[in-house]
Amino acid sequence: MRTSDGFVGTGALLRLALRRDRVRIPAWVLGVVGVLYFSAAAQAGLYQDQAQVDAYGRLVTQSSATVALAGPATGLDSLRGIVMYETYLTVICAICILAVLMVSRHTRAEEESGRTELVRATEVGRHAGAAAALIATGSTCLLIGSGMALVLPWTPLTVRDSLVYGAAMACLGIFMAALTLCLAQVFVHARTVSGAGLAVFLVFYVVRAVGDVRDDATVWFSPIGWAQATRIPTEDRPWPVLLLLLGAAALLVIAVRLAERRDFAAGLLPSRPGPARAARSLSGPVGLAWRQQRGGLLAWSVALGLLGVLIGTLGTSMQDMVRDNPALAAYLAATGGASMIDAYQATFTLVIALTIAGYGIWAAGRVLTEETVGRTALVCAGPVGRVRSTLSDLAVAGGGVLVLLLVAGLGSGLSYATVVGDTSQGLQISFAPLVYLPAIAVLVGVLVLAYGWAPRWTWVGWLVLAFEAVIGWLGGVLDLPEWVYRFSVFDHAPRYPAEALSATPLVAMTAVAALLLAAGLVGLRRRDLR
C-alpha cells in the first residue's frame, strides 16, 4: 500500500471527530482564551508606576522559583514583560494537556473501543484516523492561538506581541499533538498514551526550568524552551516558532513510519505470553485494581520524584543567593518575607499537589472506563458488590496519591537536607505535600459523586481541578471577588511550611471528602450498571 492511499477518508473522519467534540473544542478555546485575557488584563491594575514594575522585576530576577515556574525573566522592566511572565505557565500547561488528551482520545481510545475497526473496514486508509485526530487537535490549537492574537491586544500587550505569542503557543500544541501521535503508535492503551504524553510534557517543563534557572542552553533541549525563545517583549524574534513546526513535521514522519510497521490495535512491541495462572496477589478487586494501576503509578513516581529533587536543589541555590546578596536579604526582611525558602517551598508544594490531584482524578476516573466497557459487570456478576468493586479501585487510586505525595516530598526534602545540611528543614519539606491529601480527597470525592449519580458527568472532576489550578496559579493576579476563593478547596489548605499547620481546615476537608464519597456510593447503589 502506498503511503498516500493511507490517507483516503480523512475528511469523513475529521467531520466525525469534530462532531464528537463539538462541545469540548469551544469549551477549551473559550476557557483558555478567557482565563488568559482576564489574567493579562488584570496586570494593568496592579502596577501604578514604573517604580512598582521595577520592584516586581527585581524580585523575580532574584527568585529562581518563579523563573523555574514561568520562564526566562526577560523584559520585566515593562508591563508587557510582566504579562507574558505571569501567563506563560497557564497557556503552556493548558495547550499541551489539551493536545495530549485530544490526540489520545481520537486515536487509541477509538482503536481500543473497536470503533476504528468498523471504520477502517470501509473505504478509509490506515493513516486517516491519525490524520483526522491531528487536524482536529491542530485546529483547536490554532483556534486558541488566533483567539489569543485577537483578544490580547486589549491587554498591555501589543498586536505584534499577541500574534507571536498566539503563534508560539499554537505551534507548541501542534508539536505536542504530533508527539502524542508517535506515542499512540507505541502504546496500546489510550490511558497509557495520555499518561506517557503528560509525563513527557512534565520532563520538557523540568528541562526548560533547569535551563532558565541556570540561564544556559539547556532550554533548547525542550520544545517549551523553543516557544519561549521568541522572547516576545524584548527581542521579538519569531523564528523559534519554525523550530516547533519543523519538529512537528519530523515527528509526523516518524509516526507514519511507526504506524506502517505495526498491526491494527497492536503496539510496536509484540505481546508476550504471560503466566497461565494468576499470582496470589491477583485474587480480588483490590488485587485487580493494583494490577491495573501499578504501571502508571510507577511512571508518575519516577517523574514526581525527579521533580521533587529538582525543586529541592533549586531551593538550595536560592539559599545561596540570599546569603550572597545582602541587599536581597534586607529587602526580604523589610517586606516581612523572613523565610523566602519557606515561601518558595510552599509555592512548589502547591504545584506538586495540583499535579498529584491530576493523577488522583485520572486514576479514580478508571471506575467509569471499567464500567463503560463492561468489565465492572463481569466483576459484579460474581459475589462482589458494586460498592466494594468501586471502593477497591478508589482505594488503590488513593494509595497512589499518598505514595506520590510522599515521593515528591521526600525527593525535594532529602535533596535539600543533603545539599544544605539542614535536616529539620529537610524533614519539614519532605512531609509538606501531605498537607494537601484531604484537599485532593475532596476533588476525588466530587468525581465519585458525579460518577454515582450521573456517570456521564464524571468529567466535572477535571473541571474542578482546572478551577483549582487557575485559582492556585493565578489567584493572586486575577482580581476575583472574595467568595470565589472560598470555593477553592486548595485555598483552604494551610500553605505549609510558610504558614503554620492548623487542624481545623484539614479535618473539615476530610469530612467533606467522606461525605462526597458516601453520597456518590449511595447514588451508585441506586442506579443501573452499564
Partner: protein
Amino acid sequence: MDAVIAVSNLVKRFGRFTALDRLDLRVEAGEVHGFLGPNGSGKSTTIKILLGLLRADAGDVSVLGRDPWRDAVRLHEHLAYVPGEVSLWPNLTGGEVIDLLARMRGGIDEARRAELLERFGLDPTKQCRSYSKGNRQKVALVAALSADVELLVLDEPTAGLDPIMAAEFQEVVREEVVQGRTVLLSSHILGEVESLCDRVSIIRDGRTVLAGRLRDLRGASRTAVSVRLARPDGLAELAGLRVLEEVDGEVLAEVETGRMSEVMAALAERGIESLAVHPPTLEELFLRNYDDPAGTRHETGRLASARGDQPA
C-alpha cells in the same frame, strides 16, 4: 419445586424508551431454558435485571428465591454469568482472568478448569488484548463453567464460536445439566436451542410472545403437509386447511391445530397418492412470530394455549 427464575410483568424503561414491557419468564430447576428473540428485543436487558445490574421499573423478579436488586452479592454466590459482549482486562492473560474471577467467588475446580481449557482449545498464557471475540468468550465460559454454582446465565454464549467449539459447548452444557445445574441460555442459534433446551421463551419488543415446552409448542402450531391427490378438488373450501401453493399436482398446505384427523379424513376421500407431514421447526415457530413487523397479527389463541401448559 419453586422456579429458579420467576419473572412476571417486568417493565424496564431507558428514558422514554420502554425496553421491557410486562415480560414474563419462568425457569424451572434442572432445565435448560432457551431465551429467544430478535436483536434488540430485550434479552440482555432481562438478563442484566436478573443479575441485579439493572433495576426493574415494575414487576416481580425472583432468582433462586431472592430479589436480585437487593440481594445481588449473595445471589451471585450461586450463579455464574457469561455476558454477550465479553470485555476483558487487556494486560492480563486468559488464565489470570479465569483464576481471578474464580477466586472472587471463593475457589475453582482445578480439574474442571484444566479439562475445559483443553476442550475449548484455549491458550491461557495469551494476553487478553490478543484474543479474538470467540476466545474472549471462551475465557468467560471456562470461568463460568468451572464454577460450582446452581444456575448458569449465558447471554448468546456461542455468538463468536466456530461450529466445532459450539458443538463442544453443547456437550459441556449437557454435562452441567446432569450435575443438576439450571441453565438460562439466550441464543440466536435455533439449532442449538432445539438440541439443548427443554423449554423456551420467545420474546419480542420486550414482551413474551410464546413460552412453553418445545414439544407442546410444536403441537400447538400449524403443521405443514405436502400431499398429492387423485382428485384435488374443493380444497380451498376445506375447513382447517390452508393451501399455500400447488405445483404439478403437489399441494403444499398448512393444517390448523387440532383438526388433523378431520382434515386427513377429507383428504383420504380425495384419494391420497403421496403424503408428507412436517411438524413445525423452531425456526418456523420463531419466524411466524416475527414475519409481520407491525405486530398486527396477534395469535392470542395459540399464545394462550402455549402459556396454559406451563406448569404453574
